[in-house]
């Protein structure tokens, strides 16, 4: 595929391209957190934000030719896992209690 090859060579991408993508994902995540009332989707939006952090870290790492950024990404992954674990456990617990508690109050959080 010579055409595709030349097209790929012409499309030079640098640090700013990856950062642009990272900003876009971060903004989408923020919008999701602000506008969605469903807690599950809000947590997913937070995961999007964390992924955008990872993209910018890896891009910086590549640009600086320095692996410390990659290690940071690993820790961000661990943090994301821990937060998701605790957050969803609390969510499950709220759901279990719903039987005995005023649903209206519940709806405020969990529409």
């Amino acid at each position: 595929m010579p055409d595709l090859q030349s097209l790929g060579d012409n499309l030079q991408v640098g640090l700013e391209h990856y950062l642009t993508l990272s900003v876009m994902l971060f903004s989408i995540g923020t919008l999701g957190v602000i506008f969605r009332r469903n807690v599950l989707v809000m947590f997913m939006s937070v995961e999007l934000m964390l992924t955008s952090v990872n993209i910018s870290l890896v891009a910086f790492s590549r640009y600086l030719d320095d692996l410390n950024g990659h290690v940071l990404v690993l820790f961000v992954l661990a943090v994301a896992a821990a937060e998701a674990g605790v957050g969803l456990a609390i969510l499950v617990e709220i759901f279990k209690k719903r039987d005995t508690v005023d649903v209206d109050e519940f709806r405020q959080l969990m529409e």
Binding site: F43, T51, A81, E111
Partner: protein, 187 residues
């Protein structure tokens, strides 16, 4: 070829991220998010972040999102009322996010920074692990503690009504999924 792959996977990632936050059904959202993460993993590969790309798939798209799906399914079909954000909140939110995004974009666009050449070692499992287990050993241990406390907490919170009939249905063990992996590595 890096450019082509960047635009391909980047576009798909952004579109699936948008779909994630706009779908009504959380299960659909979760699937779009997994798809987004897979594309991001491919983007990591274009940056020669091999280990991170693999972990993105294993931990993020794999463990964490499966956990999300699990909880979504567990909670079952809730009657979903219409999302009707307060117009003031909506306006302020859009303005804030727009300002932040605009500022960041201006920042990003301020100059051209092409990637240089990196050695074949860059981003390999060996190179990253060596750094992780030498310089960052203490941080690594702290991560182990962090995940332990998350595990204890998730079990504590989700196992509340252990005496009740629902006990067997609670996903008490589920949060330890990603945590457990890390703990084994830690030990």
């Amino acid at each position: 070829m890096q450019g082509l792959f960047f635009y391909l996977f980047g576009t798909v990632a952004v579109i699936s991220a948008l779909l994630t936050i706009t779908r009504r059904d959380p299960v659909t959202s979760a699937f779009w998010l997994i798809f987004c993460f897979l594309n991001v993993a491919a983007l990591f590969a274009t940056l020669s972040a091999h280990l991170i790309a693999v972990l993105q798939i294993l931990i993020y798209a794999g463990a964490i999102m499966v956990f999300f799906l699990f909880v979504t399914m567990f909670l079952g079909k809730e009657k979903r009322s219409a999302e009707r954000p307060n117009p003031v909140v909506f306006g302020v939110g859009v303005l804030t996010v727009g300002a932040i995004a605009g500022g960041l974009m201006r920042l990003v666009r301020s100059g051209s920074h092409d990637f240089g050449e990196v050695g074949p070692e860059h981003g390999t499992i060996e190179a990253v692990s060596r750094l992780l287990l030498s310089n960052y050993l203490f941080a690594f241990e702290l991560t182990g503690l962090l995940l332990t406390v998350a595990m204890v907490g998730a079990v504590l919170l989700a196992r509340r009504e252990a005496k009740g009939a629902r006990a067997t249905r609670t996903p008490a063990g589920a949060p330890s999924g990603p945590a457990g992996v890390e703990e084994v590595a830690d030990a």
